[in-house]
Symmetry: C2
Subunit: 422 residues, 2 copies
Amino acid sequence: MGTNNIHAEMEAMGRKALDASRSLARLTAKGRDNALSAMASAIEKARDAIAEANAKDVAAARKAGLKESMVDRLTLTPARFKAMVAGVRDVAALPDPLRRTSRPVVRPSGIRIVRQPVPIGVIAIIFESRPNVTADAAALCVKSGNAVILRGGKEAFATNSAIAAAMADGLASAGLPPDAVQLVRTTDHAAVNELVALEGLVDLVIPRGGESLIRAVVEHARVPVLKHYNGICHIFVDESADAKAALRIIGNAKCQRPSACNAVETVLVHSAIAKAFIPRLGKECAKWGVEVFADEKALAIGKGCGFKAASEESWRREYLGLAMSLAVVDGVEAAIDHINRYGSHHSDAILTRDENAAALFTRDVDSAAVYVNASTRFTDGGEFGFGCEMGISTDKIHARGPVGIKELTSYKYVVKGQDSIR
Amino acid sequence: MGTNNIHAEMEAMGRKALDASRSLARLTAKGRDNALSAMASAIEKARDAIAEANAKDVAAARKAGLKESMVDRLTLTPARFKAMVAGVRDVAALPDPLRRTSRPVVRPSGIRIVRQPVPIGVIAIIFESRPNVTADAAALCVKSGNAVILRGGKEAFATNSAIAAAMADGLASAGLPPDAVQLVRTTDHAAVNELVALEGLVDLVIPRGGESLIRAVVEHARVPVLKHYNGICHIFVDESADAKAALRIIGNAKCQRPSACNAVETVLVHSAIAKAFIPRLGKECAKWGVEVFADEKALAIGKGCGFKAASEESWRREYLGLAMSLAVVDGVEAAIDHINRYGSHHSDAILTRDENAAALFTRDVDSAAVYVNASTRFTDGGEFGFGCEMGISTDKIHARGPVGIKELTSYKYVVKGQDSIR
């Protein structure tokens, strides 16, 4: 497809999505939940077609020599398929994010103002390999009354197409416009650049993927982008921390799921306890199989622990695996400075028994989630009680931290007058 | 200054602003209010220097042949100067936008989550001619704990510089970093492009000005932009409207301040009452001195009213003056379609005695403020009870409608565990 054709095709998708979003916005909560049920049932019914499409994608990925971990992410096992369908039904069961109208305010002029939640409109979601995101993201958008344009990774194109087709069938069977959920039908990268420039048609772009994907989207975007940069998360072990608890929390934050964005990447240790704590941490890391990149002081204290030397670039490193950076700092202020300077404003924790240190840390660390005596791994829509999430925003605009269905809404002011004029 | 120098200078400003924002974020509400008082007093003290600078700008503008209306906007009369100082003090007197911490939620895992309002960080404001925006915008940012980088119109450069210098003096006298309020020190347009690309230093850009300014900012932005596109606002006169009230409301919405973004630009009339209403409206418009661009039906009905023929482009026209577009529509649905299609999603009103029509209109019109029996002119921070405003957002992300000090805040989650792990 030529660039002009892609532009025309993306614009046409945007217009259809806008029309569909008007219909969705008119639905009651029950209407939206029925749509989700119909989507779930339709995916279930299309099980064979989806499995076949997935087998094709997997075979092509193997043939192209993709890493086995990538092939695994791509594979829709029967268990994952079941979880995907259940996920759509779980979203339907969540409370309606559009129900809470504000209390009316009556102004001296006599006008009566109500702030009412409304869908954002049309959301474009750009994601990478895992095909279950297709159903997941669509469900969250429909639940909050938004039309969605999905653009998945090219490796999962056949699978995504089969899932999206099933969802469109489900919407149609519920009497709704199938264009409420559309998948971009080309793997050409130019389509992304066109999609994110559709001012007046697309209201929000959410890129879900690595940093290079997000940077490319931001560069071409003419519509707002909700950014989910990955996490460079810290744990600061304060002077007064309980050492045993600290080791357990660091182990959890690093090892429970090292590839998660809320896994810890850098541990900072208060200099007053470094000599006692660092050798114990070194021993645990060896047990966990965690490689440690340490600053000079930690390296000296942890002699014999097998630490490697950290470089300036270690402090900005997101390992996404069994490795971490380690530094000795002179106190809570130094820890805060380090975190604000090198972190990604995602999730950062202090382990301490000192309330003043905790208060300073939570006030001054400029991150979406700031923890006291807890693992950074809790930054998650499910753990926060949102039921589910679209991702974790590292932006400070619109939504910060876990993005649930409530974060996929906007609002409008409904103002009633008595033939009121200014 | 070469482009490289401008890049370096903007980056340096961004870094200073980021540092200052950390200090501001640590202040109590009282500390921020003291800063505002000090800024107001310093502006007052610099009255002569500011007046002198303004005289220079005004003389240069006259010499350059600027329109008298532009020269007027530029002129800081003694009354406007007084209002500017009072404005800063009024902002200080507003309630603290950072005070409302959410009720804690305790999750099954034992973690206790609080959502706490925090400043956004560093806000860049790009505006056009009126120099009082310099003080106004700075005050709103400081009140909400944000550092601000101001970039004003080049015609007001001397005036803005004098006001900004006074505010920095005020901040310093209150023991605060003067870099919390900085003015871009070059009129080179390249500075704007650099400023809006400062990812990691600038958290939000707010362009205040005409559409071309906003488009240019969006094109170069790499950080989020809160857009304040001007208003193509509508009034729909329904079948059941009270004609006398309708004429009064239209007159107010069009004539009370025609240059405002919430002034009405297009009036839609229900076909069932068009024959009775349009000639009366025509007569009033003639009295008000309002030029009318009418569609075929309205033109035929309003023969003798001196209407001109509307073209397709009339429906997207923001007159910002004593002119308006006029069309006959077949009912509330047709009115809604017209508004959603041609409007700018700013402020739109229905005049009706029919509750069903009002309900349909307020549900389906996709605008920041939707009115029943009131003038669109009420969309304003002051009228809404926000105390003041940075502008009116036509975006659906982050803030919609009037942007007050609350809309200049973000939030963070503060999570306390009991050595909690996942």
